[in-house]
């Protein structure tokens, strides 16, 4: 009986387990279906999506950086070159312990605090996986060797070579060429990032900025297969980059260096233009700075020194320094007066050493020469001797509108250059301008000031040089340019908005040039020292711009005045007289008198004209 019960129990138990097993079987089947369905979903339904993902994983497109276009002077001398530079990079995905790695690197090479700070900021920016972060640039040979020797202990540390901009003549061309630097955040927003794939530098200033599109070139691309550690296994596809276009300039290295030397120790600018082409031969501003500092990023200390200097080395005085053009303006106003019929070559003005406004005796203007030049001054005399009284009279009778019009035809108040970066237009004043700027009406006294190139009128040395060139070319405009591009192959094609030409008979131009020759070569000329014993004839005009005004009846002695309050000095001229090859404008802040500038201009002209090869 007990045995039967036992057997019954056993059968019952067997059935119990069997029933439970059936339930388990059902669950197992459901789970298998779930797994198979999941695999089917991933492998068949979403197959395309995951194929793309897996390809993205292993295939990387590496941009091939184009070589930036080179810049040559007119004789083919390299002014902006590309040199290899070795950078120390960290691939963060492969660095196990950043502080340790940094500590190890510090023991091998010198890493400045500034470089570490910069590295920290770069670390925070977004980047692709395995995209390296720059720690130090421009490694020396020794540093490269030290890192190579310790390579096995430095996981994720890499050294790569890139080309960086190098300006072999440093400060000489800093203002005119500008410089390249790291692309900053605001530039990043403006540029077409596909063109800058792999490129880290961009033109910041000067020609480098103006011709950025041409100099940049076109990036290529390389498709590579990498493993998960970012190591390149093989190249799948290669599309070469297209280097940037090389620029050939009108600038002449020797003349530029010569001009820079002439300005040594002075604050000023020298502009030399070939009047036959408008090509700018020299464009110097002193003091200058070393543009190479900006290429890899200037340190804050270095930058502060330059920024805070009283001499403002960052200011391109030739193109952005605005000064009263002073007496250099007299030819242009004289020609304007002839065009509008206000004066003739025979018209004479008495010069007692001052001028009194006919309708307001209270306005009395001194001539720079005490006691006046002579009883009766003609236009020629007024140019040669730089007579202010004549031009007070001329300004009074010419009226503002005619003066404004004449100056406009010589490019004052305008940008008439083709490709000089960021020039300032200066001020060719008129009634509306004064109303807008000062909320005041135009007074007769204002006109008198403009008549001698003082008061509201402001111009840059480059503008004075261009006006002189236009005079040489008898009113015909030649566009001042830096880059030689006669076949117009460049992408950047700039055309300035030129004013109307002055319509005057040939004899007027000739007489004005004769008068300018008198400035240098006649016994009464204000720059008579300049022309002595010259191998060719020079024509020019001096100018002396007041930095601070002196009351009507006072005289002053230069040595009593602090250096920075002394007059600015101008000379603008051309040579050889018969067939001008060069226009030179010299400007020196607080240089006191234009005759000294004349001698500088003569040496520059000699350098150019007497040279065999140009």
């Amino acid at each position: 009986m007990a045995d039967t019960l036992n057997i019954q129990d056993r059968t019952g138990e067997k059935n119990l387990v069997f029933r439970r097993m059936l339930v388990a079987m059902l669950l197992v089947c459901l789970m298998v279906i779930a797994l198979v369905a999941r695999l089917f979903y991933l492998q068949v339904v979403l197959h395309d999506h995951y194929v793309t993902k897996s390809t993205d994983n292993r295939v990387q497109v590496q941009p091939l950086t184009p070589t930036r276009g080179l810049i040559y002077d007119r004789n083919g001398v390299l002014l902006a070159d590309n040199l290899p530079s070795h950078n120390l990079l960290l691939v963060m995905e492969r660095v196990e312990n950043l502080p340790d790695t940094l500590q190890q690197l510090r023991s091998l090479i010198e890493i400045s605090e500034w470089e570490e700070e910069r590295f920290e900021t770069r670390l925070k920016r977004s980047r692709r996986p395995f995209q390296p972060v720059v720690l130090k640039e421009q490694l020396t040979e020794t540093e490269i060797a030290r890192i190579a020797a310790n390579r096995y202990f430095l996981d994720g540390v890499e050294v790569d070579a890139t080309l960086i901009r190098r300006y072999p003549y440093e400060s000489t061309f800093a203002h005119v060429l500008g410089y390249v630097g790291k692309i900053n955040e605001s530039e990043l927003r403006k540029i077409d990032s596909s063109l800058y794939a792999g490129t880290i530098q961009i033109g910041k200033n000067g020609l480098e900025k103006t011709y950025e599109q041409d100099l940049l070139g076109e990036p290529g691309a390389r498709m590579v297969e990498t493993n998960a550690k970012g190591r390149i296994l093989r190249t799948l596809e290669n599309e070469a980059s297209k280097p940037g276009v090389d620029l050939k300039l009108y600038l002449d290295l020797e003349l530029q260096q010569f001009a820079e030397k002439e300005l040594e120790g002075r604050r000023g600018a020298i502009v030399a233009i070939d009047p036959k082409t408008g090509g700018i031969l020299a464009l110097t501003s002193n003091p200058s700075f070393n543009p190479n500092l900006f290429v890899t990023g200037i340190s804050t200390e270095d930058y502060a020194v330059l920024r805070d200097s009283k001499d403002v080395p960052f200011l391109n005085r030739a193109t952005r320094g605005l000064y009263p053009p002073a007496s250099t303006i007299k030819m242009f106003l004289g020609l304007g007066a002839l065009e509008s019929g206000v004066t003739t070559w025979d018209y004479r003005v008495p010069d007692p050493g001052y001028y009194i406004l006919p309708n307001d005796e209270d306005v009395r203007k001194r001539d720079w020469k005490e006691g006046g030049h002579k009883d009766f001054v003609t236009l020629s005399d007024a140019i040669i001797e730089s007579c202010d009284t004549y031009f007070y009279d001329l300004a009074f009778r010419m009226k503002l509108e005619n003066m404004n019009d004449a100056l406009d035809k010589f490019g004052f108040g305008r940008d008439t250059t083709k490709d000089v970066h960021n020039v300032r237009k200066g001020i060719n004043p008129n009634r509306e301008w004064k109303k807008q700027r000062y909320g005041l009406s135009w007074f007769a006294g204002d006109s008198l000031n403009v008549g001698i190139g003082q008061g509201y009128i402001l111009a840059s040395p480059l503008q004075v040089a261009i006006a002189t060139m236009t005079l040489v070319n008898e009113g015909q405009w030649k566009v001042a340019s830096l880059v030689q591009d006669t076949s117009k192959k460049l992408k950047i094609q700039l055309e300035p908005n030129l004013p109307k030409s002055m319509a005057l008979g040939n004899e007027h131009w000739q007489k004005m040039k004769d008068a300018m020759r008198g400035v240098v070569h006649s016994s009464k000329g204000t720059a008579r020292g300049t022309g002595f014993d010259s191998p060719f004839q020079i024509a020019g005009k001096t100018g002396t711009a007041q930095v601070f005004s002196i009351a009507q009846d006072e005289t002053y002695k230069a040595e009593d005045i602090e250096e920075r309050l002394r007059d600015h000095a101008w000379f603008t001229g051309f040579a050889p007289f018969e067939d001008p090859e060069i226009v030179v404008t010299v400007f020196v802040e607080n240089g006191e008198h234009g005759s000294a500038m004349g001698r500088i201009a003569r040496r520059i002209m000699e350098n150019w004209i007497l040279r065999e090869q140009k």
């Binding site: 056993r10 439970r20 079987m25 797994l35 999941r38 695999l39 995951y50 897996s54 994983n57």
Partner: protein, 376 residues
């Protein structure tokens, strides 16, 4: 109806001469399936390890050892195991405690025990076998279904190793051991209302576990499972890469040793826990489905052995070990394909790893013992 079905099952001829395999205590269908799986596993491992012969050789040696243990284990009558069960369980608990006291630390968890004169091993592996034996023995001392107090005692006996292994911490193993015990209790005939009762208690425990018991790394795994893209280069990397490997394999696969995800190291742990992704990438849906069929066949064979076992102890033991084996497969493939959170569970007989293979084949030794000891 069930009774009739069970009676109709072909009984072994207990009077005639039993076949050779029976006398050798080898279950031929099960052996065949296990060998197929192991050999296939070595081929997958060769590709997954990037053609590393040394790893494959080592794995083959582990398999050889495992099959030897299985063969020896099958020779003993299940009743012998029933006698040893409680002792093995007791030793296991002592070893687990000593692991916590003096164990070796690896990958942030104390799992290994390095006793003098013995190779380093994980005591939790012992428990994978000892727990089902001990519970099956305990519950079959009295007629099934078990009484509530016995169930309570069984659950308490299960709770001790679970807690000790969880403490190491090794969530995956502790859960699998718990599941193997739960299977014993389930097969023993735990009443459905108790099953639902316990289930709801466990469900309501989840928030408590989350707040007080789980380690931050475990919580991170769950969060990553819910949204792997939230940290795609960190904790989400593994699962994103394994899904990409599986998905890009497509229906036919990229070809043996041609998987870019696995061969170019994008897939982490490709020769251990994530090895199914290598198979799925290189052999496609067909390969993965084939592998799952082999696992299913082994599971069904184990279930048959369970049903046809001589006594309830054998049934509970073989049933629990078989179902636990299947759970390994499900959890591993589920986590690699992104339907379960990542817990460190190897793919049986495919993933590289010595201890787990030997333990697993040892458990099949027990199943074979049940299968080939039918005489009363």
């Amino acid at each position: 109806m069930f009774q009739e079905y069970v009676r109709s099952l072909p009984d072994l001829d207990l009077h005639g001469k039993p076949p050779l395999s029976y006398r050798l205590h080898v279950d031929m269908p099960l052996l065949f399936l296990l060998v197929v799986l192991s050999v296939g596993g070595l081929f997958i491992l060769y590709s997954a390890s990037g053609g590393n012969v040394a790893i494959v050789e080592k794995q083959a040696m582990h398999m050889g050892l495992g099959f030897l243990v299985m063969f020896i284990g099958a020779q003993f009558d299940p009743r012998t195991y029933a006698r040893w069960g409680l002792g093995a369980y007791g030793i296991g608990v002592v070893l687990l405690i000593s692991v916590l006291v003096m164990g070796k630390t690896g990958k942030g968890a104390q799992r290994w025990l390095d006793l003098p004169g013995l190779p380093a091993f994980q005591p939790s592996e012992i428990m994978k076998i000892a727990v089902p034996i001990a519970l099956a023995w305990y519950l079959t001392r009295e007629p099934l279904p078990p009484k509530f107090k016995h169930i309570f005692a069984a659950l308490s006996g299960l709770g001790v190793p679970f807690a000790l292994i969880l403490k190491q911490p090794d969530l995956g193993t502790s859960l699998l051991i718990a599941i193997s015990g739960v299977f014993v209790i389930f097969l023993a005939g735990l009443r459905w209302r108790l099953i639902f009762g316990f289930s709801s208690i466990i469900l309501s425990m989840i928030p408590v576990m989350w707040l007080f018991v789980m380690h931050p790394y475990q919580k991170q795994r769950v969060l990553t499972f819910l949204n792997p893209e939230s940290d795609q280069f960190g904790s989400g990397w593994n699962i994103i890469q394994s899904k990409t490997a599986i998905g890009s394999g497509g229906f036919e696969g990229k070809g043996y040793m041609q998987g870019t995800q696995s061969q170019l190291d994008f897939l982490p742990e490709s020769h251990t826990d994530f090895i199914i992704a290598v198979l799925a990438e290189e052999m496609g849906f067909i390969g993965a489905a084939l592998l799952i069929s082999v696992y299913l066949a082994i599971t069904i064979r184990g279930m048959l052995i369970c049903i046809r076992a001589r006594d309830s102890f054998g049934r509970l033991l073989a049933g629990s070990l078989t179902l636990t084996f299947f759970i390994y497969v499900f959890v591993n493939i589920g986590m690699v394909s992104g339907i379960l959170p990542v817990v460190g569970v190897p793919l049986p007989l495919i993933s590289y790893g010595g201890t787990s293979i030997v333990t697993l084949l040892a458990s099949f030794g027990l199943i074979m013992s049940v299968s080939t000891h039918q005489k009363i």
